[in-house]
Structure formats: C-alpha cells, structure tokens
Symmetry: C2
C-alpha cells in the first residue's frame, strides 16, 4: 500500500532531470538504529526478547543495516552501570541472531575517544559485524579517522557520523570534509543531534557534503532527531538532495524526541524490498508496552532545545524530573 | 529565543534571489484555527473558558487571525447535537472577546452546501467577524464562489479553502484555478485534508497556485494535517514557495492527527510581533488537561490513512473504538 502511494519523484530527486513516479532509487539503504539510539534512554538495558523482536522486524521489513549499540571502552564505562548493548560483545549479538548471518548487515557504533578500538574491534573475519560506525564531534576528527582506518584495515565497511552538525562552523566543516574525502571511510553521515535543522539547512549541507565527496565513491547518510517534528521531513529532504543512507528507528525510538520513524520512511520509499506490515506489528506488540516503561518522542521541552539549537540534555533531565510539564519554567531557564 | 534562532532565509525563500538571515517577510500572517478544527473532535463542544483561553493566547502571541468555528445551517445541523462553535452566533463571539475588537481579525468558516449564507452571514457592519472562509470540495466550486461573492459584497475579507486537494485531478484543478482567479476571493487556500502530501507535492501546488493567481493580488494560504508528521514541514515548504497565509493550531489540536502546531511555526518565523511564550503557557495550563478528555495528534492509524491518501474518518473511528491500537487489523482492512 505504501508502495503504491509513495510520491517521490525519483529521477528528479536524484538530480537527473527526470520526473518519474514509478521508479525508485536502488542505491537508497535504510539503517535501523532503534536499539542503539533507543538505548540512550535506558542505559542500553534492553532484554534479549526486545532486541530479538527488533532484529526479526528489521529482517522481515527488508531493512539493509541494523545497529545494536556501542563498542564502549569497559575501562571508561563499567558493565555494572550499563546494559550489554553499550558494549555489544560478539556473543551477545550471536545469541540474538541465532548464530546465522543473513543479507541484513550488522553494525556497531564506536564513539571517538570512548572506544578501545585497537583491542575491542576484532578483525572482521572473527566478528558478526559488517560495519563499524564511528561517531565523532568536529574536534575529534583525527581520532575518528584513525578509528575508521583501523576498522577498514580490519575488513569492515565504515561510516563516519559527524555529530552536532548544527553547531559546526562552515570553515571548520570545509576543512573536515577535505580530510574525510581523502580517508578510507565508506559513508559520511550528517547528524542533526539537536533536532534543530530546517529543510533549507539540510539541503545546503547535503549539497556541500555531496560536492566535497564527488569522485570519491563515498556515500552520504543522514541521521535526524524529532525535536521539531522534522526528523522524517528532513530525511525526505536529504533523499531529494541525493542522500542514499538513511537512519531510522521503529516507532521513532531514540534519544529525547527520537529519530525518523521507520514506518513513515518505508511509506515514502518505493523499493519493493521494504515492507511496512512487520513494523506495524512490532509497534503494536512490543513498542506500545515499552512506552509504559520509558518515554521518548516529541514533547514541548525538546521543541524548545531544538529551536534554541541546544543539546537536548536539559530537556531529558526535565522529562525525568517531578515536573516534566513545567514548560514555562523550562523555557524561561533556557533563554536566560 | 525562537526569533534569534529562526533559520528561514527570507529573501531566498521568497524567490527574490537574496540570502539573508536577518530579515523576515512581513506579508506572512498566521491564522489560528484551534477552536474551529479542534471542534471537529468534540462536535464543537468547547466551554467558554477554553475558547477565551485560546483567544487571549492568540492575542498575546501576536496571531493575525483567529477562527472560532462554522456558520452551519441550523436546518441541517441541530443545535441540540452540536456545541455553539458549530454555528458561531454573534452573541457567543461577543461574549468571548468581551465586546471589544482589537487588531486580531476574527474568522468564521462557511461550508459549501451546509451554510444558509444569504441569511446567516450578516452584513459586516453588523458582525464581529472580519473574514469569512469558504470551505469547498472541487465539485462545489460554483456554490463556493457564490458564497465568496455574497461575503465580499457584505464587506468581508474572504478565503476559499479547497479541501482534499491531494485527490483533485490536475485538469480539474487547472479549471478551478482559472475561475477562482477571476473571482472576488482574497485568499485561496491549499488544504491537505488527508495529511498525505509530501514536500515536493506541496512545492508543486504552491507554484501552480501562485502562477494561476499572478497579477490578481490574491494571496495563497496553506492548511496542513499531521498524519505523516509533515504538517509543520509542509507549512515551511509552502513558506519557502511564497505562501503568506498559514493555518496553525495550539498544540496541533485539530481533526485526527491535528494541524501544524502554532508553537513550532512561531519558532520558525522571525517577525518580532510573534511571541511563543503565551502559547507554551496555554499548552501547559489548558491543553495538557484537555488531552485527558479528547484525543488528537499523530498515531499510527492516521499515518496509515495519510500514506494511503484517504480521508481520516476510518482512523478516527478506530481511535474511538474499543481497540484503538489494533494497527494490524486496521492496516489489513484499509489495504483490502
């Protein structure tokens, strides 16, 4: 159904000058980061049944990549304080997938400066993972690129996820893109960590990234947050501007206001390999009960931090407090 | 705060070739239709205190127009079955505004074929209303234009709100725009009743409407629904494409998935006459309690009807049933 109604004009969107309603862009790939980004709301304490439900849903929905969590350094983060998806040990992943790999690729995120990558990232031949995603702030680019090289040398697909892009200065970004273009990374991601970006900014960044990566064969990706109810819209804007790697999460589960909902995204894409029905089933059976345990998704405090182009940490703190709906006090504090 | 952060490049957005972050488009006007569209969720049974709260909030927020409800024909709709905002008698409005007009203009909606307009719409000199908004389906255009003429002759500003635009054939729309361009109407509204439109469709319609109205002095407006979490994004897309009349509602209150939230829209606009704080205060004090009485806003069933480009009536029915979260059964029924 979603397929028949999906309205993207693929050729026009791809900048090829065409205008067809009946084709799709096969290069577009969806990465589900439900367990990884959602884990930021419960210190990665999902039980196996939840992670298996997400895994089976992604498989059935035709999702291309699934990310489970982080490869956090256990010397920095104690396993006593976090759930197992903060560390993503190989055995934990194997237990979820039942020991059998299939065509869906498996990802793990490695935070710059918080990962003992030389030690904890195994050679690909000894790992269930296919892809290492290196998350970095602009000032950590040298470390991040060393991590990318390490992972690439070990045989993985790699991505570099440039976080908090909405507060990166143009001049710094230009220099970063220059070195990234010369690096081993496979895909460079635009990450709107604060959920503060508007469509014109997304468009301009997509064009800037595409231009900087031209001729390198690298892909561009997008990861959005829903602080201003623009996560899905900004993902569409990125598609229109040629971005082919799309992060999404089931029911939008993710830090704070959450991410681009997978079920919405599949409604837009037309590639027949995607199927929305398993996602709806999973939301009904697994995510509705989860909403009684943890909160995520758009609320007014996230809108306020998004509009201010601020990290959502203060809004997250408010939502976990005794006065989660004291919008006015929060607003007055934030604009002080 | 929102003002300082608002990111619209006004001149570029207006197609003037500029690229300024520090100006705004003074022609943009916000119309609050909280009470009118929200009334579709409770048969217009809002008590006076609620309507007064919305009125005072809109005033304080700098909203340009406020709409209270419909001028429904009492021979068709019994006042025993509906609240007073289905009929918007002059005395009811006067009681809300305290008998005193101010710079915020007051609107009422008149549905084609469901309004005894010759009788129920008074001459403007005898009315508190400034603007009559005629809601019409494509096949009712002749009636709607007669209603527009009647209202214009009586001294009102007028709008023509073309509903369910996502199922109107291009050829029919072209003919409709031809006659509308020659009519007395002041503003022609694009109404995405089903919340099914994507940004590229919004862009194309805005351009088509603007082109058809060129040289007539008529304004273009947009009214969106949030079935696919695109109400705000599509309103921004319309702004970028030159649309100056924007419908919004406090907390997104409106039929089904609701409308473009006023608090998000004010975050995007930069005109210093708008103030977000009173809106946040009203949401906290009035709308959070209201959410315990009536439901509105994005849920999966509305997403499904939006993706299918269908009227939300089946989703509304589901949400009011004993199984509001049986997404799979609903999905299977809708794609049958």
């Amino acid at each position: 159904m979603a397929k028949a109604k999906s309205k993207i004009k693929v050729k026009k969107a791809a900048g090829n000058g065409g205008d067809s309603w009946v084709t799709y862009r096969p290069e577009i790939k969806i990465l589900d980061c439900t367990v990884r980004d959602g884990g930021l709301m419960n210190n990665h304490n999902f039980d196996d049944s939840f992670v298996m439900a997400v895994y089976n849903t992604c498989l059935a929905a035709g999702v291309d990549y699934m990310e489970f969590g982080y490869k956090a350094d256990k010397k920095i983060f104690s396993p006593a304080d976090y759930g197992r998806w903060k560390f993503c040990d190989e055995d934990d992943i194997k237990r979820i997938i039942g020991g059998e790999k299939n065509k869906m690729k498996l990802c793990v995120m490695a935070d710059a400066e918080r990962t003992d990558y030389h030690h904890d990232i195994l050679p690909k031949s000894k790992s269930v993972f296919d892809c290492v995603r290196v998350a970095t702030y602009i000032h950590q680019i040298p470390t991040a690129l060393d991590m990318v090289k390490d992972a690439a040398d070990k045989g993985y697909e790699t991505t570099l996820n440039l976080m908090s892009i909405s507060v990166v200065k143009d001049s710094d970004l230009n220099k970063a893109l220059d070195v990234i273009a010369k690096s081993d990374v496979g895909t460079i991601y635009i990450v709107d960590s604060f959920g503060s970006m508007y469509s014109e900014q997304v468009r301009d960044l997509c064009r800037k990234f595409s231009s900087a990566m031209k001729g390198t064969g690298k892909q561009i990706g997008i990861h959005t947050h829903n602080n201003q109810q623009l996560a899905y819209a900004n993902t569409i804007e990125a598609i229109i501007n040629g971005v082919n790697r799309l992060d999404a999460t089931i029911d939008g589960l993710g830090r704070g206001a959450g991410n681009c909902p997978l079920e919405l995204l599949i409604g837009f894409l037309k590639n027949p390999k995607y199927d929305i029905r398993p996602v709806l089933e999973c939301i009904q059976n697994v995510f509705l009960p989860l909403r009684k345990k943890i909160e995520w998704g758009f609320t007014i405090p996230y809108m306020i931090t998004g509009q201010l182009n601020e990290h959502p940490r203060d809004a997250i703190k408010l939502r976990a407090s005794d006065n989660p709906d004291d919008y006015i006090a929060f607003y007055d504090k934030m604009i002080e």
